[in-house]
């Protein structure tokens, strides 16, 4: 396809011999040294990810009331230096997208999934919220890992966890999608290569979308299009903790009904004691309740297959039988996070 989008680092990725994949209309690095190695760079030390495919919109602070009505979390009444994970909900209470807001005194940066950028823009348009699309003029680099903060401390001021900062040409927050500490930095495309060179000099390794997926799954973090969709509410996805909006918001009535009735789909974590991976779409049964795997892969740290499964209702048992290509494989539901 000729209209595939490229980040400003595209040639750099190619020079690093990255295996490229098409993801949500973007040509993105899947891996450089291999997914497991990159997974371990983050768990043991530090890695950086080009996540510039994600949508970045600047919104004026004056629209905060209107934005607050479209998400299930309280954005208006949190401090002006906070980063907030939240979900745009539909009238039916389902997820339009899960996003991050970086809250500043004068403006808000909204970061959405690449696959949903156009959907979010239309949603804002319909609700008469104006924005400046920064996706093509900036890059977004995530630096994540056990040692990420120690390394980043040599380059920029480290904000508190889930807090934002602006310094020099960096707009950033101490957030991430790997279960490790780190920062996500928005930077003008003209400055990105200098920043990457600085990270490389300090031994931070490039990581691709392959390890980003194994890391987020192992860290028990949902991925839109899999654990969350236009047909799944935050309650169903086990994200009740995001529902902090004290005011009225789109879909509130249905979401409140789900919370009180508990009559809804249930997303659960599972593990397998097998050598097969129950991948997306695998059918399973627990206690007579049918489920479908939303994501599944090996946990490199735990050494066994893990994943998420969406059940039609809440199964009473923690034993699950998966139909993996015709073989019945037993697994267990996990009520804690995969990694502590």
């Amino acid at each position: 396809m000729s209209d595939i989008k490229k980040t400003s680092l595209h040639d750099f990725h190619k020079s690093k011999n990255a295996k490229m994949i098409d993801f949500a209309g973007w040509s993105m690095p899947f891996s450089y040294d291999g997914t497991l190695k990159e997974h371990n760079y983050v768990r043991d030390s530090a890695g950086y990810f080009d996540v510039s495919h994600m949508g970045r919109l600047r919104l004026s602070y004056s629209q905060i009331e209107e934005i607050n009505y479209l998400i299930c979390s309280e954005l208006k009444n949190i401090e002006n230096t906070k980063a907030l994970y939240s979900i745009f909900t539909s009238e039916q209470g389902t997820a339009i997208d899960d996003v991050i807001f970086w809250k500043f005194e004068d403006d808000l940066i909204l970061i959405c999934n690449a696959s949903n950028t156009n959907k979010i823009k239309s949603h804002l348009d319909i609700n008469s919220i104006t924005y400046e699309d920064l996706t093509s003029t900036t890059d977004l680099i995530a630096i994540q890992g056990k040692n990420a903060i120690n390394i980043i401390d040599q380059i920029m001021t480290i904000p508190n966890k889930f807090s934002t900062f602006k310094e020099n040409n960096y707009i950033y927050a101490r957030t991430g999608y790997t279960g490790e500490d780190g920062v996500e930095v928005m930077i003008d495309t003209k400055d990105t290569m200098d920043f990457i060179n600085m990270l490389e000099t300090k031994g931070v390794k490039p990581c691709g979308l392959g390890s980003r997926d194994t890391l987020r799954l192992e860290a028990s973090l949902p991925l839109y299009g899999f654990e969350l969709t236009d047909d799944i509410s935050p309650v169903e996805a086990g994200l009740k903790w995001t529902i902090t909006n004290e005011n009225d918001y789109l879909g509130k009535q249905i979401i409140d009904e789900q919370i009180s009735s508990k009559q809804h789909k249930h997303l659960k974590r599972f593990k397998l004691n097998a050598k097969q991976i129950a991948r997306t779409g695998t059918i399973c049964v627990s206690d007579g309740v049918e489920g479908v795997v939303t994501s599944g892969n090996i946990s490199p740290i735990l050494g066994y297959p893990i994943g998420y499964v969406l059940f039609k209702s809440n199964p009473a048992d923690d034993l699950v039988e998966f139909d993996i290509r015709g073989n019945l494989v037993e697994g267990n539901l996990i009520y804690k996070r995969f990694l502590n």
């Binding site: 295996k19 899947f30 891996s31 291999g34 997914t35 497991l36 392959g210 194994t214 050598k275 097969q276 991976i277 991948r279 892969n297 090996i298 490199p300 290509r325």
Partner: protein, 120 residues
């Protein structure tokens, strides 16, 4: 011993008298990404040409390796049980998968040169 031959389904095999050794190509392991689990057949199991004999789970996807000809399994590479990454590191050497007795010879695989142009 004959030359290493390749199949369109990305296995390699080498015939030696009435047996062959089979594995997956370097190209195949590269496409699969990190291999994390391998399910091997039992010694003595019989397969027809084209049957799935080995299941390979990788971080990116799952794949099967197919029998290059009718055969009976005589040996499996049990090192793959604990070190599936051997397939990534040395696909046409230490990453071999199974050895089998040939029931009906079919040495119609591609040469390396033919395979190279097939994948490019």
């Amino acid at each position: 011993m004959s030359d290493t031959k390749y199949l369109e389904t990305h296995e390699w095999y080498i015939v030696s008298e009435n047996t062959f050794t089979v594995g997956i190509s370097d190209f195949a392991q590269g496409e699969l990404g990190d291999i994390v689990f391998v399910t091997l057949p039992e010694v003595g199991q019989e397969f027809s040409k084209g049957d799935a004999i080995v299941e390979v789970e990788a971080t990116k996807t799952v794949a099967e390796a197919y029998a290059p000809m009718d055969c009976v399994i005589t040996e499996v590479n049990s090192n793959l049980e604990t070190e599936p990454e051997l397939i990534n590191n040395d696909p046409v050497g230490d990453g071999w998968m199974v050895k089998a007795e040939i029931k009906e010879m079919d040495d119609s695989g591609m040469s390396y040169q033919e395979y190279e142009s097939f994948i490019s």
